[in-house]
C-alpha cells in the first residue's frame, strides 16, 4: 500500500516548475512592482512639491476668486469663491458638450446618410465636407471660426437683422426668446407631466400591440395625452404662459433676448462640424454593415420603406454604430478644452486662470483631471447600458 504514495511523492512537481505557483508568483511580483512604482511616483510628487513650496491643500477653494468670467449659467462675479468659479467653468463645459453631442449626432447622421445617397451631388458634397473636417486639426478650425468668421461680423450698431427679430453681430447672436411668465410654471409642470405620461402610454400600447397582434393606435393616443395636458396648462396659466423677450440695442450691446456669445458659438460650431464628420463615417459604416439581403428580404415581406428602415436596418446598424459613437461623444467633450484658445470659459480655461490666481497648480490640475474623468466615465456608462440593451439577445 505504501508504494503508490511514495511514487506520488516522487512525481510531485517541484515548486519552481509548478505552473500554477509560477503564475501566481508572476502576478504577485508584477502587482508589487506596479503598486510600488505608483507609491514611489506619488511620494516623489509630494516630496518635490514640498521642496519647491508648492502647496497641495484645497483650502483656497473658499477664498474669493477675484477674476471675472465671461459667461455663466449661475450668478457669479469676482467676489464669489474659487469653488464657485470652478463650477461655473464646469457648467459651461457641460453646456457646450451636451448641446454639441445632440447637434453633432443629428448633423453627423444626416451627412452619413447623404454620403450613402444615390444622388451624386449629395454624396460628393458630404464626401468633401467629411474629408475637410477629418483632415484639418480642430484647433485650426476653431481659430478660423472665431477670428475669421464670428469676429468679422458687423459691429453691434450695424447688426444683421433677421425677422424674428434675430440680431447677428460680432458680439453674438441675439434671439427673441420666450420666457416663462408668472403663471408659466403651472403650464410647464403640466406640460412635462403630459410628456411623461405620453411616453408611458406609447410604451404600454406598443407592447400591447405586440401581444395582441393588432393596431392599438399608440401614436394617436400619446399625441392626445400631450395635447390634453398642454391645453389644460394653457387654461390654468390664463393663456399666457410666456412673455416674449426681445433684444434691444442699448449703449454698446444688445440687452434682453437669448444671447449666444461668439466664443460659445465658435466653439460649438467648430466642435459640432468636426465631430459630425467622424459621426457621419460611423453612421455610414453602421448602415453598410447591414447585409443587403436583410433589406431585400424585408422588402419582400411587404414592409414599407419606413418600416424597412425603422424595423430592420436601423436596429441592426445601431449595434455597430453605438460603440464607436461613445468614443466620438467622449472626444467632443474632451476637445471642448480647446476653448482656451478662443476665450470660452470652460472648466479647463477657468482652471488655468485659477492656477495663476491661486498659485496651486497641482490641486487644480487634479480637480480638472477628475472632472473630465467623471464626465467621460458617466457618458460611457450611460451609453454602455444602452448598448447592452440593443445588442442581439443570445441564448
Amino acid at each position: 500500500m505504501s508504494s503508490p504514495v511514495s511514487s506520488q511523492a516522487s512525481e510531485r512537481i517541484p515548486l519552481w516548475r509548478d505552473e500554477r505557483v509560477l503564475r501566481i508568483t508572476a502576478q504577485v511580483i508584477s502587482a508589487v512592482v506596479i503598486i510600488g512604482g505608483l507609491i514611489w511616483v506619488v511620494l516623489n510628487l509630494l516630496e518635490a512639491a514640498e521642496q519647491r513650496g508648492l502647496s497641495l491643500g484645497f483650502d483656497f477653494i473658499q477664498d474669493p476668486a477675484g477674476f471675472p468670467i465671461s459667461e455663466s449659467v449661475i450668478p457669479y462675479d469676482d467676489s464669489y469663491p474659487f469653488g464657485t468659479a470652478f463650477i461655473v467653468g464646469l457648467l459651461n463645459t457641460l453646456k457646450v458638450a451636451i448641446v454639441g453631442v445632440l447637434v453633432a449626432t443629428v448633423l453627423g447622421t444626416l451627412v452619413g446618410l447623404a454620403r450613402l445617397s444615390t444622388n451624386w451631388l449629395f454624396s460628393q458634397i458630404a464626401l468633401i465636407y467629411i474629408e475637410i473636417h477629418r483632415n484639418v486639426p480642430l484647433l485650426v478650425l476653431l481659430f478660423i471660426w472665431y477670428f475669421a468668421v464670428f469676429n468679422k461680423l458687423p459691429s453691434a450698431k450695424e447688426s444683421l437683422e433677421i425677422p424674428g427679430p434675430i440680431y447677428l453681430n460680432q458680439r453674438g447672436l441675439y434671439l427673441t426668446w420666450p420666457r416663462l411668465s408668472e403663471t408659466g410654471s403651472k403650464f410647464l409642470i403640466l406640460f412635462i407631466i403630459g410628456i411623461v405620461l405620453a411616453i408611458v402610454t406609447w410604451i404600454y400600447l406598443r407592447n400591447l400591440r405586440e401581444r395582441l397582434g393588432r393596431s392599438t393606435y399608440f401614436a394617436g393616443a400619446s399625441l392626445a395625452v400631450i395635447l390634453l395636458f398642454t391645453l389644460s396648462g394653457l387654461i390654468l396659466s390664463e393663456w399666457q404662459p410666456f412673455w416674449i423677450d426681445t433684444p434691444v440695442f442699448e449703449g454698446f450691446n444688445f440687452s434682453g433676448g437669448l444671447r449666444l456669445t461668439p466664443e460659445f458659438a465658435a466653439l460649438l460650431v467648430g466642435l459640432v462640424m468636426y465631430t459630425a464628420a467622424f459621426i457621419a463615417e460611423v453612421v455610414r459604416a453602421g448602415i453598410q454593415a447591414v447585409d443587403r439581403g436583410q433589406m431585400e428580404a424585408a422588402r419582400a415581406t411587404g414592409l414599407s420603406q419606413f418600416q424597412v428602415l425603422g424595423l430592420v436596418i436601423i436596429p441592426q446598424a445601431l449595434r455597430v454604430i453605438i460603440p464607436p459613437m461613445i468614443s466620438q461623444y467622449l472626444n467632443l467633450t474632451k476637445n471642448s478644452s480647446l476653448a482656451l484658445a478662443i476665450g470660452y470659459a470652460d472648466v479647463f480655461n477657468v482652471g488655468r486662470i485659477m492656477i495663476n490666481q491661486a498659485g496651486r497648480a497641482v490641486p487644480i490640475f487634479g480637480m480638472v483631471m477628475v472632472t473630465y474623468l467623471m464626465m467621460s466615465l458617466i457618458t460611457s456608462l450611460i451609453l454602455n447600458i444602452y448598448n447592452r440593451r440593443i445588442q442581439f439577445e443570445t441564448r
Binding site: 519552481w16 519647491r52 513650496g53 508648492l54 502647496s55 477675484g66 477674476f67 471675472p68 468670467i69 465671461s70 462675479d77 469676482d78 467676489s79 477670428f147 469676429n151 468679422k152 459691429s155 460680432q170 458680439r171 442699448e250 449703449g251 454698446f252 450691446n253 440687452s255 461668439p262 466664443e263 482656451l340 484658445a341 478662443i342 476665450g343 470659459a345 480655461n349 488655468r352 486662470i353 492656477i355 495663476n356 490666481q357 498659485g359 497648480a361
Partner: protein, 378 residues
C-alpha cells in the same frame, strides 16, 4: 534542473560583465569640465572666526548657470518694448536686457542667455518649479505672488493699469463704459483690478478673456470689445503697433499699482543677491554721483578718480563680489552690455526709442524726482 543551472550561469556571466564595466575607468567625455568650485567658494572660511554656514540650496543656481554656460530667463516675444522680436528675429526689449545684464555679470557674455517665452498664466509655475533662473516678463509684485512664486528682486518698472478705447467711442470715464465688452488677458492682476474697479462702481461689463495676449488685442482691434485694459506701458506698446495708432486713445486714469519686477526662484539667497545687485548697479550707474556710468564711459570712469564709480566697476574695494563668487568686474560687464537704467529705458521707450515713446514719469531716476532708487553699491 538544467534550466536553472543555465540561468544561474547566465546570471553569473551578466554580473561579471557588469563588474567589468564598473571597473573600467571612466573616460573623460566631451568638453573639459569647468572647475565647478562654487560650492567651496561660497563657504567663506575666515581664520579664527566662526564659519558661515549657508542654508541648503545656497549657490545652486549659480553653479547650474556656470555649468550650463547660459542664464535661462522666462520672457516674452510678443510685447513691443519689453520683449519682442525685431525684423531679424532677435529677441529684444527692456525685460530681455535685464536678463542680458545678469548673463554679462555672471558669465561675462551678455549673449549667453536663453529666453523661454511664457504666457501670463505660465509665469507662476515656471519660476515656482525653478525651471528658469530669472522670470523677467512684466511681473507685477504682489504679496501673494511673493509668498508663492519666488523672490522678487527690485522693481525695475513702475506701471499702472489703464484703459484703452477707440477714439470715436466717446468713452472718457469708467461710467461711460457701463454695459461694454472689455478684452483682458487671463491669469493677470489686470483682470482682478478690472473686476474690482467695475464692481466697486456698480457698473456692468462683459469680460472677454484670452490667455494669449495677441488674441486679446486681435479681438479688441476687430471690434469684439469696446475697451481693453492692461498696464499703461503695455497699452502704449500695443497702440504703437496698431495699423493707425491715432484711432485709439489711452484714458488718463490709473486704477492700480503695477510694480514690474524680475523674479528669481525661492531657496537660493546667493542668486537672489546677485540678480538684485546687478539691478542696483544699473540703477546707481545713472546717478551723476557715480559718474554717471554709461555703456560708453565705463573705461573713462575706471581711469577717473570717482571712488563710487570705481567701486561699482570693481577697481576700488569689494562691492560684495568675493562673498558671491563673482569676478570683480561683473557689474562693469553688465553695464558694458546694456548700459545704465536710463540707457536701457531710452533704448526702447525714450524719445528716440526703437519701440515707442513713453514719458518716463515714475520711472525717472530718484535724483530727477522719480521712483527709481536702489541701495548704494559700496
Amino acid at each position: 534542473m538544467r534550466n536553472i543551472k543555465l540561468s544561474l550561469a547566465m546570471l553569473l556571466g551578466l554580473s561579471l560583465v557588469l563588474a567589468a564595466c564598473a571597473t573600467t575607468p571612466a573616460e573623460p567625455v566631451g568638453e573639459p569640465a569647468e572647475p565647478v568650485t562654487v560650492v567651496e567658494t561660497v563657504q567663506v572660511e575666515v581664520p579664527g572666526e566662526t564659519q558661515i554656514v549657508q542654508a541648503p540650496g545656497y549657490g545652486e543656481v549659480l553653479a547650474r548657470v556656470q555649468e550650463r554656460g547660459k542664464v535661462v530667463c522666462a520672457g516674452r516675444t510678443d510685447l513691443l518694448g519689453f520683449g519682442y522680436l525685431d525684423d531679424a528675429g532677435n529677441n529684444l526689449g527692456f525685460d530681455i536686457d535685464l536678463c542680458r545684464a545678469v548673463a554679462a555679470a555672471v558669465l561675462g557674455d551678455p549673449e549667453a542667455i536663453e529666453i523661454v517665452p511664457v504666457t501670463a498664466a505660465e509665469r507662476g509655475p515656471v519660476i515656482q518649479t525653478g525651471e528658469v533662473d530669472i522670470l523677467s516678463r512684466n511681473v507685477t509684485w504682489t504679496s501673494s505672488r511673493d509668498s508663492q512664486w519666488g523672490n522678487f528682486t527690485i522693481t525695475m518698472f513702475y506701471d499702472g493699469q489703464g484703459y484703452m478705447v477707440r477714439a470715436d467711442s466717446g468713452i472718457e470715464t469708467q461710467a461711460d463704459m457701463n454695459g461694454s465688452s472689455v478684452c483682458v488677458t487671463s491669469g493677470t492682476t489686470t483682470e482682478k483690478n478690472l473686476a474690482a474697479d467695475f464692481r466697486e462702481r456698480g457698473l456692468d461689463f462683459e469680460a472677454v478673456i484670452f490667455e494669449d495676449t495677441a488674441s486679446v488685442y486681435g479681438a479688441f482691434f476687430d471690434g469684439r470689445c469696446d475697451v481693453t485694459t492692461s498696464d499703461r506701458s503695455q497699452l502704449a506698446a500695443i497702440r504703437a503697433g496698431a495699423d493707425n495708432p491715432d484711432d485709439y486713445v489711452i484714458l488718463p486714469m490709473i486704477i492700480s499699482k503695477e510694480p514690474l519686477t524680475p523674479v528669481v526662484p525661492h531657496g537660493d539667497d546667493q542668486w537672489f543677491d546677485i540678480v538684485k545687485l546687478v539691478m542696483f548697479a544699473l540703477i546707481n550707474a545713472e546717478n551723476p554721483a557715480y559718474g554717471p556710468i554709461t555703456q560708453a564711459t565705463v573705461d573713462d570712469v575706471i581711469a577717473s578718480d570717482n571712488i563710487k564709480g570705481k567701486t561699482v566697476l570693481g577697481v576700488e574695494g569689494d562691492w560684495g563680489y568675493s562673498s558671491l563668487g563673482l569676478e570683480p568686474d561683473a557689474l562693469a560687464n553688465a553695464i558694458r552690455a546694456v548700459g545704465n537704467y536710463g540707457e536701457v529705458y531710452n533704448r526702447y521707450m525714450g524719445p528716440d526709442g526703437i519701440a515707442f515713446t513713453l514719458p518716463r514719469g515714475l520711472n525717472e531716476h530718484w535724483t530727477n524726482g522719480g521712483l527709481v532708487y536702489a541701495p548704494p553699491i559700496k
